[in-house]
Amino acid sequence: MNNRQRALHPGAWWLWAIGLAAAASRTTNPLALTLIAAVCCLVVASRRSDAPWALAFRMYLGVAVFVVLLRLGYHALLAGNGLTILFELPELCWPGSDLCVLGPVSAEAVLSGIYSGMQLGVMIVCVGAANALANPKRLLSATPGAVYELGSVIVIACAVFPQLAESVQRVSKARQLRSGRTHSRHLLREVFLPVFADALDRSLNLAAAMDGRGYGRRNTSCIPRGDTRTSSEIPEHHPTKFFDTLRGTPEHHPTKFFDTLRGTPEHHPTKFFDTLRGTPERVRDDDAESSAKVSSVLIVVAVLALCVGSYSILDSSAMPGGLGLGLLVGGLLVAGLGFWLAGLRNPHTRYRPDPWRGPESLTAICGIAVAVVFVALDRYGPDGLLHPPVGGLSWPQFSIYLLAGVLVAALPAFCTPAPPSSQEEER
């Protein structure tokens, strides 16, 4: 696959970027952070397409630099205790208290500003890299079947903004033809009334068009005779497309685990799932209803578990740490199961879903590996490696593990297929 140009699954890029961002959140070592940022830049430079969202990476870099400068400014001007004084500024104190700003600027404060600013900045760069590398629309269209309609709605809502901007432009140009008033009093009425009327017309048109094209349909009885190639012939396992994609088996052969869940390898649903999914031909109403209830209950339970779990992770005094983590993981699993069940009732299919193949797994593993290395170093590594002290004004430590750990994340720049260029036929 490496010699053919194709866009990587957007989920792979996001996992990779989240891994890097998680690693960055574990360290304030400027060498490690610079290395992470450099790896991001390298991968973006070699694997981004020429689509508009890919060009926004520069903007993220700008924001990151701005964040570093801002943090530097705050630390230098506001938190001024340190031993090595670089220079003195006139101190401004709140009368009658010891609240002071400016005053002596210490090297330690400057350093800690740079370190913490860099940490935040690099995390922003990681998010920017994911945005530049992954097509946001393809990411939305990879949403699980259960929230398919929500995904489409978001895609459409995003498409509305350029249209709205276009209408504002058109109407304000037209307004100049008539009155040419550039100010105020009537502006709202003269521009926004036609724009809103336009937007309303457009949404009604769009709604009518979507309705006429089958959006939101649950009933599949109206397939014309003679056209046998539709729903009834869809392989039974089609609703698990999301899991298939995640598992990366292009032929959609369920793996052992899901086989066990769903029944025999011949895709005969077991009794339990039979009830949930209804008969293979068509979901009967009462079955569909009970399935909907089960999946809703699962999702509610999952959300509760996730809330309690993340609370106990953030506040370790609330619950024993293991229990919090367990709740979090369990919540995620139950949520996944709920979505999967809800997706089973979804009659939609996907056109050319992004495949999940070797390069996707490699990319995701690279990102996660970096995070794992940093977590491990944080726990077992030498003191001061990930959080160099600012006190002694010494050169931050570095280790071969750190270097190797971060460089792993650069692999996707070489081991993934190049993105298709826009001139060429895609994929």
Partner: protein, 543 residues
């Protein structure tokens, strides 16, 4: 394939039913052309086919509509998506995704078509409509004709065997319209698709139709085009010419007409077309046409980024004449008109009205040049017609009632308390025209005013423009409608890739053109007869 069984449809709050007791039967594989005046219930008839009316629009339907034996009472539009495909006038407004391939697949995704089947069907459909090379293009970047073909492809791919098209070509230039029509004809002939098509410009399609459905005041009658055209008040020029010359059966295509026109050509030989007025009741000219008093533009340049939309265009609009500006979509017509108002982008060039040199400042140009933009309703923002008129009077410093008086001349009888957005397209255009005319500027520009207008509304617009020109206005109309240009305009200017490639009297520019010749000119060439009215008065004078 489509059955209307004693169907009546009434909307809430309306005075009477929009359609009453309609019985209509369209066979599988028919190409049925639906025509009727604006507001006659045409759109309601089309909407009822896939259940859009009344499931989506509201209203009350009695009787029974069946399509491919599915009753629309029991099946809302989304259930019929695999049976009926609807394509509307502005395809962009109905696009859900943003690239061609995804759009074609969207309908199938909703129907749950298996991925492998989906893949082959997308490819087949792209080839069928000759849009395979556009597959990864953004929909917004396509031309109107391409967008329309994508819209047809997307409903066809979902399995629709009945296509309902509501004025699919009304916004297209003649060549793009031909592309779309050719694609539709191929579907009818090769795939046996049933086609229900509404169109105002009958001259384009009537020759291909198997049946013609005429909607008039809620009553529907249908028959073969030849039968229907003999009695229909709406008929293309070639049919009008046939009626005038007494041909039977009536010709429907240029080919039919030309083969029968030998006799007529002989009767007209020796008569000078220019000596006869092109419309039935010519306006009385108050002032002679005067190029010096009109608008003169020199070396107009318009560029958007690296695209040069208008290249060194020289345009003369003599006072007292109507000039038609023709050219394919994207040839720079709108850019040129906008530049002349002082509002649009302009890189270079000078222009003047009469003796007054205009500059960049839009407020100065606004006193002398007024324009009706393509989306005329953009200029309307008040709640009632009366309020719009009053606002126009005060904006232009006219005495109250001035704008309303102009409106009554253009389109009498529009209620003063009606909301401008509730007016028909023709009435809305008249209102915007009145608002702009209240400024009493000596030059008037109109960008595509004829889209969506039926024959009578177009005739009324043509008459109004000619009367205004007779009072001494310099008028320019950008249009795709060559029949309108042939009857309403004195001069014609043709643009291509930003340049003006032909300019002169209508008879010289249009009669000899392969693309822009009106039907009468094609039938009676080489003599430059342009309109049925002209031939009628020539024949009248001969007797």
């Amino acid at each position: 394939m489509i059955d209307f069984d004693d169907v009546s449809i009434a909307y809430q709050g309306a005075d009477g039913p929009t359609l009453s007791h309609v019985n209509l039967h369209i066979d599988e594989g028919d190409f049925a052309l639906v025509c009727g005046r604006t507001g006659s219930g045409k759109s309601t008839l089309l909407g009822a086919v896939n259940g859009h009316v009344p499931h989506f629009t509201g209203g009350r339907l009695s009787g029974r509509v069946r399509v491919a034996s599915f009753d629309t009472r029991e099946h809302p539009p989304r259930d019929l998506a695999a049976v009926v495909g609807v394509v509307r006038q502005n395809p962009l407004a109905g696009f859900v995704t943003d690239t061609v391939e995804e759009e074609v697949a969207f309908g199938m995704e909703q129907l749950g078509v298996a991925p492998a089947v989906m893949r082959t069907r997308v490819e087949e459909t792209l080839d069928l409509l000759s849009i395979a090379e556009l597959r990864s293009r953004a929909l917004r970047s396509l031309s109107g004709g391409q967008q329309q073909r994508v819209a047809i492809a997307s409903v066809l791919a979902a399995g629709a065997r009945v296509l309902v098209l509501d004025e699919p070509t009304s916004a297209l230039d003649p060549t793009s319209a031909e592309e779309v029509l050719a694609a539709m004809l191929r579907l009818v002939h090769d795939l046996g698709v049933t086609l229900l098509l509404a169109e105002h410009r009958l001259e384009r399609v009537v020759e291909y139709a198997d049946r013609m459905v005429v909607v008039d005041g809620g009553q529907v009658s249908s028959g073969t085009p030849a039968e229907m055209l003999a009695t229909s008040p709406l008929a293309p020029p070639v049919v009008e010419l046939g009626k005038l010359a007494g041909w039977s059966p009536l010709p429907q295509s240029i080919r039919d007409a030309r083969r029968r026109a030998g006799d007529l050509r002989q009767r007209l030989a020796g008569l000078d077309p220019l000596a006869f007025p092109r419309e039935a009741a010519p306006a009385q000219r108050e002032v002679a046409a005067n190029p010096a008093l009109g608008l003169q533009a020199r070396d107009i340049e318009v560029a958007y980024g690296r695209v040069r939309a208008v290249r060194r265009a020289d345009l003369d609009l003599p006072a007292g004449e109507v000039t038609a500006l023709l050219g394919r979509n994207g040839s720079g017509k709108s850019s040129l008109l906008w530049a002349l108002t002082g509002v649009g982008a302009r890189e270079g060039g000078t222009w003047c009205v009469g003796k007054v040199q205009l500059d960049r400042e839009p407020s100065q140009a606004r006193k002398l040049v007024r324009m009706v933009p393509q989306t005329a309703s953009d200029l309307l923002y008040l709640n009632t017609v009366a309020a719009e008129c009053a606002a126009a009077d005060s904006e232009n410093g006219r005495e109250p009632g001035c704008c309303r008086a102009i409106l009554d001349l253009l389109a009498p009888g529009i209620p003063a308390d009606r909301h401008p957005r509730d007016l028909s397209e023709g009435q809305q255009l008249a209102l915007v025209l009145a608002v702009q005319l209240a400024a009493k500027a000596p030059a008037l520009l109109l960008d595509e005013p004829t889209r969506g207008l039926d024959y009578p509304a177009k005739a009324a617009l043509g008459k109004a423009l000619r009367e205004l020109a007779a009072q001494g206005l310099a008028i320019c109309v950008a249009t795709h409608d060559v029949e309108f240009a042939a009857t309403a305009a004195d001069r014609a200017v043709v643009m291509a890739v930003g340049e003006i490639i032909a300019a002169g009297p209508v008879s010289a520019v249009l009669a000899t053109s392969a693309v822009f010749a009106p039907q009468v000119a094609k039938t009676l060439s080489p003599a430059p007869w342009l309109s049925v009215g002209q031939v009628a008065s020539a024949l009248g004078s001969g007797k």
